[in-house]
């Protein structure tokens, strides 16, 4: 590969790392300053609100199936319902995800199988 492409990749890698680490260092310094002055440091309200909102936005985008079709959308709805149901029962992390993926797979396979058998 050409050297200029490698330079671009290195710049993109350093830039991405800077976007992750820069705000950490800045916020830590802000918190440490408050600690030294014996005052309570708080995140600005807009920033603390953005945290959960980013997770909600990621959930929204990730709900779109990799290959959108009737089968995958039905499986997404069932998988979502099963995940929430198991989470309400167990309040755990791994089991709801496992059951969600399993139900998604079963429904996807069943509906896809039914689709294939339909004439025309």
């Amino acid at each position: 590969m050409q050297i200029d492409i490698w330079i671009a990749i290195v710049v993109a890698a350093i830039g991405t790392y800077a976007l992750r680490v820069g705000p950490l260092l800045w916020t830590q310094r802000h918190f440490n300053k408050h600690k030294a002055n014996n005052t309570e440091a708080r995140l600005p309200l807009w920033l603390s609100v953005l945290g959960p909102l980013m997770i909600a936005a990621m959930l929204g985008t990730s709900l779109i199936p990799k290959t959108p079709s009737t089968a995958s959308w039905i499986a997404t709805v069932i998988g979502t319902v099963v995940t929430v149901f198991i989470w309400r029962k167990t309040k755990s992390l791994g089991l709801p995800v496992f059951c969600g993926v399993l139900s998604f797979g079963i429904v996807f396979g069943l509906v896809l199988g039914a689709d294939v058998k339909l004439p025309g």
Partner: protein, 240 residues
């Protein structure tokens, strides 16, 4: 920090990171396939995954380089897609104990690791946090690297052999986000705000604004939160 608590945190982190494999490996395999088709070698694709380590932007970078777009523009677009990461670390700082390891560990702060850390760190013992973060981010990072290498070596035949796996396993990511977000539906204000954000993200991702869907949807959510809070304050002052 004792070695024992570091190890127990590390172990818990590895366990908590396992659901990520379902989402990371199929996408990493796809990246490996696309990068090789675009003219990169398997080693080059794997190095991109190891050092840039940011899903959507890697696809964009490889596609732009392959199409002959100016390199400065490809780098700018990559960074623009990743700019959402700036809000992640500040949201975690209140839960991070003092350690020199955090700046190095930030290389692993992806969308999914942030979502996991934002939910798990507040309830965790301080002595376990560094180990936990190392464990969870190592699982994710290694699966991303190994997935890319597999994709570069034989991704096409892998996805052809197990087409169901390729379609089913990525559901692990929305299932994980769902579980992480579920406890936050604790009030009418937050439930409405989160629902608006999720719907906006879904609609935007289905439209032409796919790469900007996450920040734009989060902005919609922030406006909703502000308007609902304002409305609540007005009602309260009327009642008084």
């Amino acid at each position: 920090m004792s070695q024992l608590s570091l190890n127990s945190g590390l172990k818990q982190g590895v366990i908590d990171g396992l659901p990520l494999l379902g989402g990371y490996i199929p996408v990493a395999i796809s990246f490996g396939v696309i990068a090789v088709q675009a003219g990169f070698s398997t080693l080059e694709a794997t190095l991109i995954s190891a050092f840039i380590y940011a899903g959507a932007s890697q696809f964009l970078l490889v596609a732009m380089v392959a199409s002959g777009a100016p390199l400065w523009l490809a780098v700018c677009m990559t960074l623009l897609v990743n700019v959402r990461h700036v809000v992640y670390a500040p949201n975690l700082v209140p839960y991070l104990p003092q350690s020199k390891a955090w700046p190095y560990l930030m290389h692993g702060l992806t969308d999914q690791i942030f979502a996991l850390a934002h939910t798990c760190l507040p309830g965790m013992d301080d002595t376990n946090k560094v180990g936990w973060f190392k464990g969870v981010s190592m699982v994710a990072w290694l699966s991303w690297i190994i997935g890319t290498a597999l994709g570069g070596i034989g991704g096409d035949s892998l996805t052809q052999q197990w087409p169901m796996l390729d379609s089913v396993m990525p559901f692990a990511l929305p299932a994980l986000f769902l579980v992480l977000l579920a406890p936050k539906f604790s009030s009418k204000l937050w439930s409405l705000t989160l629902l608006v954000t999720m719907t906006a993200a879904l609609v935007l991702a289905l439209s032409t604004f796919k790469n900007a869907a996450i920040p734009l949807a989060a902005m919609c959510g922030a406006i909703t939160y502000y308007l609902l809070t304002l409305n609540g304050e007005r009602k309260q002052s009327h009642a008084n």
